[in-house]
Amino acid sequence: VVNEERTSNDLRCADVEELISGLIDGELDRETRLAAERHIQACPTCRDMVAAAEELNRTVGELRQAVQPGGFPAHLRAGILAEVQGAERQAATRVLPFPRVRTWSGWAVAASLALMMAVAAVTGWFGPPRSMETDQASVRVVGVEREAFVFVRMLSRWLGGDLTEEEYATLISELQAPGPGGGPNLLFQLLGENGRSGLRDLADRTDLSPIQQQFLREAERLIESLEAGEQPDQDAWRRLHVGLAAFRLG
């Protein structure tokens, strides 16, 4: 090995060792690379060292393939679009305070979706396309007044993607308004006594995916906290918005 250290152009094994990263990464200038290659050709020790370094580099590279998802997760796409669209609406209407999402996790959306699925169960959204009559019937079932009808209809149109900016603003202000027929109270009524049976009915369905089933469990927890008298805070509303968008985007 000692004899092989001096091969050509003054490069020694120690020099090649210093250059090995530049060599396997293709970052050496032409002259240095050629000198290193000449040395390697004549030096089995360095040849083995470079081959081992390349192999290890490949394996480190393959670790990426092992942790990278095959596609972009739908819930993440929905979350990003919800935030973007929320910000756009905020700029357009100045009605909806849409806080920037700082931490965002799957369960938060799951809970929001579950909430909407529970509403859907109560108001019959799981069937074929609804007519005005079915909406009205649903409202009668849950026993709330015209506000609920308007709310549900607007919500369903938003889910269908055909709500105007102005209507959206109205919907949000209605959601946020306290008092009978408005905001949290309305949702609470929708989810109250009928919400739980709606959830149970849903849980009995056999065509739900595991993630939908998880949404249901999260919804139950959310309803429990509502029943415990906890007022949904701004963050809960934000999650609802994200969930609605995710629902709309499928």
């Binding site: 090995i20 990263s21 970052e27 480190v60």
Partner: protein
């Protein structure tokens, strides 16, 4: 300050860069939820204020944003100097022979464990080069270090990785239990025993 990116373009970038960015974030911070948070914030940032230089500048800009945010997450959350173990995706090797799959998986798990033993700055350097294939200039820009030092830093990182790997191979009894094969059967299991 530029205009927000059109939503349709944002969606195209999500499809094109999203999986890779999640992989990058996860490689650094080893937390799926945090990796998704970081990726989401990066795309919202892209939408709000795309980088100067047009579409060509976006991929490396996004990698830089995600890398730095992931390093911040890592610094905030890393406990006791130990990272959670990498979760491998079993579907990735569905086409290989089961014994080869398991053997390769064991090797990758070993290299992954060796990576975990590196200091964060060395690990991130290797992730950026070997996994994200960033050039030395891009690595220097991403990490805010002089370009002239990237090669020597990578050399040191690779040298230490090799050392950690050799140490792990020399103590198989201590680590064998940690290395679970990806498939149900270990290589050779049932044939030799």
């Amino acid at each position: 300050m530029g205009e927000p990116l059109p939503e349709a373009e944002l969606q195209q970038w999500m499809e094109r860069l999203g999986p890779q960015l999640i992989g990058l974030a996860y490689s650094i911070c080893r937390d799926r939820v945090a990796a998704e948070d970081v990726t989401q914030e990066a795309f919202v940032k892209l939408w709000r204020r795309p980088p100067d230089g047009g579409p060509r500048a976006i991929p490396s800009w996004m990698k830089r944003v995600v890398t730095n945010a992931s390093i911040n997450v890592l610094q905030r959350t890393r406990r006791h100097g130990k990272l959670p173990e990498v979760e491998f995706d079993p579907a990735l090797r569905a086409g290989d022979h089961p014994a080869a799959q398991a053997e390769r998986h064991d090797e990758m798990r070993l290299v992954s464990m060796a990576m975990d033993r590196l200091p964060d700055e060395k690990r991130v350097l290797l992730i950026l080069r070997a996994q994200q294939e960033l050039s030395y200039a891009e690595i220097a820009e991403t990490l805010g270090i002089p370009e002239g030092t990237v090669m020597s830093r990578l050399n040191r990182a690779r040298k230490q990785l090799r050392k950690e790997l050799d140490a792990l191979r020399d103590t198989p009894s201590r680590h064998a239990a940690d290395i679970e094969p990806m498939t149900g059967a270990r290589p050779g299991q049932g044939e030799q025993e």
